[in-house]
């Protein structure tokens, strides 16, 4: 087991290097001269050149990348063109709100999606199954931001039950979390259903029934464990989807998270901020995938067995 964890940890390094290279390459490609942008239009050409020299912008690409990595390890991923404050600082300040939103949303998606999918599978082609899967299909077809706008329209403008913006109180968190959770909820319930359907057709389930086991025990003790394996994978992947959805959801509900930070930075063409945010999201997503893979090995005895001897 530990060998597996260790091996999986080793995979992270090339991925981090890859993401940082991609982000740095993109940063390098952005239009405009960073030195000029920092000094403003009024600065003279010589002072811009001096700053370029000082910032190392005249060095070869790979040398600049090496310096970027060195700084990034120490938590410095550049300064914002607009506010001049360190990108890492602003990103970390915005992250808790995004994390809270994402965790709230994934909880809704798992707590409703998994039982819904499993019930749909057990009662395949029933009214519940059809209605749930119909809603699931609509759920994955709806743009998140449109759903957010519709919820604002219904619950804020017409009914007045929830506030339309802010992210401090529980009531303010409900609408963004519901909005963000919807596509994940839809996907999780679809996967749960098909995974369960696959498992209940296996011979060992038939065997359990043949022995005379009561139905709920067949499902709960025999089927659920194996049905969970693909569900865990998809939940992990959904976390990436949640980070994407969070960008637009935060923009709709004015949640002060990384998404809003990105959108604001895009509007003001603050490239270090945009790409710093992207770097951060990439790193977080990789770490989540790591946790999911380890969890996966924990649930799936086949992976555990492969690393048991030797």
């Amino acid at each position: 087991m530990w060998r597996y964890v260790l091996r999986r940890l080793c995979y992270l390094l090339p991925i981090f290097i890859g993401i940082s290279f991609f982000v740095f390459f993109m940063l390098h490609m952005t239009p405009g001269d960073p030195a000029r942008l920092m000094l403003g239009d009024a600065a003279t050409e010589t002072s811009v050149q001096e700053l370029r020299q000082e910032m190392g912008l005249n060095d070869p690409f790979l040398m600049q990348y090496g310096r970027y990595i060195k700084n990034a390890v120490r938590g410095d991923i550049g300064k914002s063109y607009i506010t001049k404050s360190p990108v890492a600082h602003e990103v970390l300040q915005a992250f808790p709100a995004t994390l809270r939103l994402a965790l709230f949303a994934i909880s809704i998606a798992i707590l409703i999606g998994v039982p819904l999918g499993i019930l749909s599978a057990i009662h395949q082609y029933s009214l519940l199954d059809n209605v749930a899967m119909g809603f699931a299909l609509i759920g994955i077809s709806m743009p998140v931001f449109w759903l957010g706008l519709l919820l604002i329209l219904l619950f804020c403008v017409w009914l007045g039950w929830f506030p339309a913006s802010g992210f401090d109180t529980f009531r303010q968190m409900v609408l963004p979390a519901v909005t963000l959770s919807t596509p994940s909820l839809a996907i999780i319930s679809r996967i749960s259903r098909s995974s369960m359907l696959e498992v209940v057709r296996q011979d060992y389930i038939c065997m359990a029934r043949a022995k005379g086991q009561v139905e709920w025990r067949v499902i709960w003790n025999h089927a659920l464990g194996n049905a969970l394996i693909p569900i865990v994978t998809i939940v992990g992947l959904q976390f990436g989807g949640l980070l994407e959805g969070a960008v637009v959801t935060e923009a709709v509900f004015a949640v002060p998270g990384i998404g809003s930070l990105l959108v604001e930075a895009i509007k003001t063409r603050d490239y270090p901020m945009v790409l710093g945010g992207v770097l951060f999201i990439g790193v977080v997503f990789s770490l989540v995938n790591l946790v999911v893979d380890i969890l996966y090995a924990y649930i799936d005895p086949r992976i555990k067995a492969r690393y048991q001897n030797g």
């Binding site: 890859g18 993401i19 993109m26 077809s141 743009p143 329209l153 990436g240 989807g241 990439g282």
Partner: protein, 291 residues
Amino acid sequence: MAEARMSGEGGKQYKQSGLWARFRKNRMAFCGAIMIMGLVVVAIFAPLIAPFPYDQQDFMAAQEAPSAAHWFGTDEFGRDIFSRIVYASRISLEVGFIAVSIGMVVGGALGSVAGYYGGFLDNFVMRTMDILLAVPSTILAIAIAATLGPGLFNLMMAVGISTIPRYARIVRASVLSLRHLEFIEAAQAVGSSDFRIIVKHILPNCMAPVIVQATLGVASAILNTAGLSFIGLGIQPPTPEWGAMLSGARTYIRDYPYMTIFPGLAIMLTVLALNFLGDGLRDALDPKLKR
């Protein structure tokens, strides 16, 4: 699994008709296909269908509720929302299909080369794909679109590039499963070039999962495009785009909700139709049918 037993000349035709029958039996997929065809017709004949030009402003008739003259009402510049939605279908379909084509062609080429040659090349290509997959695709598209700057072409590139790894993985997996079968060995024995073997013998045999992925891919490309436009990347005004229309309508949500409802409905129906079609195709092409 009737077609597994079929062989010889009649086999192919039988297999295709079986596929068609299964597809037709799936009413949702059939509905989806018809809706998509309808949308393509609307996009092609947009100037004939839209009652007004998409950029015709009329400040005397700004923000009117839906009426006989303006079916979906007018926006803050007095432009007819129905006409703009009709014209915007062009952008969405264009971005959807071209972005998916970019992803499919580049990803397919990388995946088939990686799978066919294996070894270092395979490792290099697939590890690069892993890195791209390590960033969620919309975030990747945001990074690319923000760097390239706004515009339709850049948007297509951004959404297209972000889907490359998915196709590379699917095609590679299929190529690996075919690579050592007899008919490939036979082709090698008669001296076919690698290029010919990949294009003529391998790729046609791994199209099924790619087609399904592409159909669902157009759906997610359209969603992605709308999302990027919504946050200010991508299509610039006055060109109508569903996501950008929603972004503009947001300010007026309290007083003029219809401005928000119709463009979103257009996105949802389009994506829903593509998802119907993709699910139906998967059921029809998947030999391990769940039904």
